[in-house]
Amino acid sequence: MTETSTHTLELRQIRKSFGAVDVIHGVDLAIDEGEFVVFVGPSGCGKSTLLRLIAGLDDPTSGDIMLQGKRVNAVPASERGLSMVFQSYALYPHMSVRQNLSFGLENFRMDRTEIARRVDSAAQLLQIDQLLDRRPGQLSGGQRQRVAIGRAIVREPIVFLFDEPLSNLDAELRLQMRVEISNLHDELGNTMIYVTHDQIEAMTMADRIVVLRDGRIEQVGRPLDLYNNPANRFVAGFIGAPQMNFLEGRIERNRLSLDSGLTRDVQLATRGDGRVTLGIRPEAIGVSLDGAGDMQIKVRNFEQLGSVTYIYGAFENGERLTVQLGEQIPLQRNQTIGVTLPSDRFHLFDGESGQALATGP
C-alpha cells in the first residue's frame, strides 16, 4: 500500500464500528480538486459518519484517509485544513455573527487586518454584511445557514464538508440555498463534499454522486450516468422520482418473459438463463386509451398536474406500474388502458443480486 495519492482526497478501505456495530464496511473513494461530490443514501446508511471520519471528528477503525497525497489518520481535525457546515449549524449562540466568523481564525493567531478582510469578503459574498453585529438567535433560519457557511468559507479550506445543511429549511428557502451553494462552488472553485438524503439535491448540485447503502458504496458517477445506467436495482430505485417500475420475470434463451405476460427478445452480453427484474422509467412508457399496445393495465389512481400526468395502474397479476406522461389525457378510475414498453429503455437486473445486466450482442 503506497502512502501517496494524487487526488485531493482519497479514502482507502475505510471501516468504522461503534463498539460491536459495524457502520462503514470498507469504503474506497477518490475525489479530485474542485469537484462537488454529493453523498446520498437513505437515513442511517452512514453518510454523516463517513463525513465525520473525513473531518477527523471520529477515527476510522481501519483504512487510510489521504488528503493532498498525505495520510492524515493521525492528524487532528483542526490541522487537516477542512471546514464543516453542521446540520444544526452549531453557531456559538453568545457571539455576534462577526465573532462567530472570526473565532476560528483567531485560534490560528492570524493578523487582525487579515481576519477582518476575510470576514468582510465572506460576508459580502453571502450577503450577510448587514447582520454582522447580530447574535444567531436574532437571525432567520436561512440567515443562520449563511453564517454557518460563512464560517466555513473564512477558513479557506482545502475541502468544504456539508452535513445536510438544508434539512432545517422550508421548501422554498431550500431551493434558493441550493442554487446559492452551487453558485458558491462555481465562484470559489473549492472541493466540496455534501451529504444529503434528498436525491433531488444530489441530482441538481453534484458533479459526482456517491450512493451509499448500509455503509457501502453502491455506485459513484455523474448524475445522469446514475440515472441512465444504474449499477443495480437499489440505485435505480433510489435515483429518479417517481420511482422506476420494477417487473419480475425470467429469461430463457434470450427471451424475456414477464410474470405479467409480456414476452420480448433481449440480447444479454454475459448471462444465461434465470430470474430477472425488468426496470423501466415511468416516462419511457407509452399509453393508448383504446387499450392497444404491448399490455393492458387497469387505472387505479391518477394525478393530473397539467404539464404532467401520473397514472398508477396495475397488471392483472397485481404488479404495479407507474406511468408519466407529458400531456393531458382524459382518464377514469378502473379504466383499462394499453401501454407500450420500448425495449431500448429496458434496464435488466439480476433476480437475486440485483446487479445490472448489460444488454447487447
Binding site: 471528528l57 487532528p76 483542526s78 464543516m84 452549531a90 449562540p93 473565532f103 476560528g104 477558513r155
Partner: protein
C-alpha cells in the same frame, strides 16, 4: 384546647362527614371502589368547588391549601416580623407586648461605630459580630463553593470512566445531616484526632529523612531533574504551552518555594503561599493563551533554578516537632473559620456540582465539534464557549449558594458553637440565641435582627444579580 385544634376538629367533621354524605348521595360506589371513594373524599373540596362554580372555581380550590400554608407560615410571619421588632418585653402573647417603636433597632445601632462591635451595646455587639462574621464567611464561602463545584463538574463532565460513580460520590455528603457531619468532623479534627496524627506522623518521617546525610543533595538534584522534565513538557506541545503540565510545574514550584523559603531572607513567613500565588498566576497566564505564556514559564524555570541553588547554600532541614493543633478550639489561628469553610464546602458542593453538570450537558456537543474543526485549544474553548454558556446556570448557583451560606447555622452551632470566643459566631445563631435560648427571651430584638439580615441578603442578592446580569442574557 387550642384554637387550632378546635378549628381542625370542625374542619375534619365537615370534610369527612359532609364529604361522605355529599359523595354518597351523588355517586354510586361499589365496595371494590373504596380506594377511589377515599381519594374522592380527599379531594372533596375540589369536587364541591366544581359543582358550585363549575370548572372556573377548580384552580382556586386546588391552590387553596398551598396558599393557605404559604400565607400563614411565610407571608404572615414576614409582616409579623416587622411588628414584633417594634415591640418589647418577653411575652409570647402578641397583645401583651408593649410597643417600643424603633427601640430594638436603636439598641442594635447604639455603637460608636458599627465596624467595631466592641464599642456597641450588648445587643449591638452580638449582632454586629455575627453580621461581620457572616459577611466574611459569605465572601469567602461563595466563591470557594462555586469554583470547587465548577471544577468538579468540568472534570466529571470530561470523557471519563465511571462518571456515575464519581458523581454519586461527590453528592453523597449532601445527603448527610448536619448533626452527623458535625460529629464526623469533630472526631476527625479533635486535638488527638486522626488528622493531627497523620500530619505529625508525616512530619516526623520527613524530619528523620531530612536528618540523613546527603538528603539535601539528592532531593535537590531530583527536584531539578523533575522540574526540567516538566517544564520541557510544558513548553514542547505545538505552539502554546500545555496547561496540564504547567499545573504540575506550578505545584512543584510552590513546594520549592515552601522549602527554599526565600521570604525568610527579609524576615517573613508564608513563602509557600507566595509560591502558590505565583503558580496560580502562571497557570492563568497559560490558560489565557497570552503571548507571554512561554516567557513566563521560562522565567519561572530560571527562578526555580535560583531557588534550588539557594537551598544548596542554606541547607536547614528542621521541620521541628509537631505540636497538635486543636483545630476547632484554638483562638486567633483562623483554623476554626477555615474548617468551617472546608466542612461547608465538603457537605454542599455536590449539590451545586449536579446543577452545573446539568448545565454543562445542555451545551450542544456540536459546538465543541465546530470548535475542534477551528483548532480551538481547550483553555480557549473553556473561556470563550463553556463559561459564557454556563453563565445562566452559574448565576443560579451563585444566588442559591449566597442565600444558603448567609443562613449558615447548623454546622457552626454543632462544630464550634460560635467559638472560640466569637470567631465563628454567625448571624442566625445570634437570632436563635437572642430569641430562644437566653433566660429572658428577647423576641423583639431577634425580630429586629431578622429584618436587618433580610435587608442585607436582599442587597447582596440584587448586587450579585446586577453584576452577572450582562453575562446571563443570551
Amino acid at each position: 384546647m387550642s384554637l387550632a385544634a378546635i378549628l381542625m376538629m370542625m374542619l375534619g367533621v365537615l370534610w369527612i362527614g359532609g364529604g361522605s354524605v355529599w359523595l354518597l348521595t351523588r355517586r354510586r360506589y361499589k365496595l371494590v371502589q373504596a380506594p377511589s371513594f377515599l381519594m374522592d373524599l380527599v379531594g372533596f373540596p375540589v369536587e364541591y368547588a366544581q359543582s358550585i362554580w363549575g370548572r372556573g372555581g377548580v384552580p382556586y380550590a386546588l391552590l387553596l391549601p398551598n396558599m393557605l400554608i404559604f400565607g400563614l407560615f411565610t407571608f404572615v410571619p414576614m409582616i409579623l416580623n416587622f411588628y414584633v421588632s417594634f415591640t418589647g418585653g418577653t411575652s409570647i402573647l402578641l397583645f401583651n407586648r408593649p410597643w417600643v417603636g424603633l427601640q430594638q433597632y436603636a439598641d442594635i445601632f447604639s455603637c460608636e461605630t458599627i465596624f467595631e462591635p466592641r464599642t456597641c451595646s450588648n445587643a449591638g455587639f452580638s449582632f454586629w459580630t455575627g453580621m461581620f462574621n457572616t459577611l466574611w464567611f459569605v465572601v469567602i464561602q461563595v466563591p470557594v463553593l462555586c469554583v470547587v463545584a465548577l471544577v468538579t463538574a468540568l472534570v466529571v463532565n470530561k470523557n471519563i470512566r465511571g462518571r456515575g460513580f464519581w458523581r454519586a460520590m461527590f453528592f453523597y455528603p449532601v445527603m448527610l445531616s448536619p448533626v452527623v457531619i458535625a460529629n464526623i468532623w469533630n472526631w476527625v479534627l479533635h486535638r488527638k484526632g486522626v488528622l493531627n496524627e497523620m500530619i505529625g506522623g508525616t512530619r516526623d518521617q520527613l524530619s528523620t529523612m531530612a536528618g540523613m546525610t546527603g538528603f539535601d543533595i539528592v532531593v535537590t538534584v531530583l527536584l531539578a531533574v523533575v522540574l526540567m522534565v516538566v517544564s520541557e513538557r510544558a513548553l514542547r506541545s505545538s505552539d502554546t504551552p500545555s496547561l496540564a503540565w504547567t499545573a504540575i510545574f506550578g505545584a512543584l514550584l510552590a513546594l520549592l518555594f515552601g522549602w527554599a523559603n526565600p521570604l525568610s531572607l527579609i524576615g517573613l513567613g508564608g513563602s509557600f503561599w507566595l509560591g502558590g500565588a505565583l503558580a496560580l498566576g502562571l497557570v492563568l497566564i497559560v490558560s489565557s493563551e497570552s503571548r507571554l505564556a512561554r516567557i513566563a514559564i521560562i522565567a519561572a524555570g530560571i527562578l526555580s533554578a535560583a531557588l534550588l541553588i539557594s537551598i544548596q547554600f542554606d541547607a536547614v532541614f528542621d521541620f521541628g516537632r509537631y505540636r497538635p493543633v486543636n483545630w476547632l478550639v484554638q483562638p486567633n489561628t483562623g483554623w476554626p473559620f477555615f474548617w468551617l469553610v472546608f466542612v461547608f464546602t465538603w457537605s454542599h458542593m455536590g449539590f451545586y456540582m449536579l446543577i452545573l453538570l446539568a448545565g454543562l450537558q445542555a451545551i450542544p456537543s456540536d459546538l465543541y465539534e465546530a470548535a475542534r474543526m477551528d483548532a480551538t485549544r481547550p483553555a480557549r474553548a473553556f473561556w470563550r464557549i463553556t463559561l459564557p454558556l454556563i453563565m445562566p446556570t452559574l448565576t443560579v448557583v451563585l444566588v442559591l449558594a449566597l442565600i444558603r451560606s448567609f443562613q449558615i447555622f447548623d454546622e457552626v452551632y454543632l462544630l464550634t458553637g460560635g467559638g472560640p470566643g466569637r470567631e465563628t459566631f454567625m448571624i442566625v445563631q445570634n437570632i436563635y440565641e437572642v430569641a430562644f435560648t437566653n433566660n429572658n427571651k428577647d423576641y423583639g430584638e431577634g425580630a429586629a435582627g431578622s429584618v436587618l439580615m433580610a435587608v442585607v441578603i436582599a442587597v447582596f442578592t440584587f448586587f450579585q444579580l446586577w453584576i452577572t446580569r450582562r453575562q446571563s442574557e443570551l
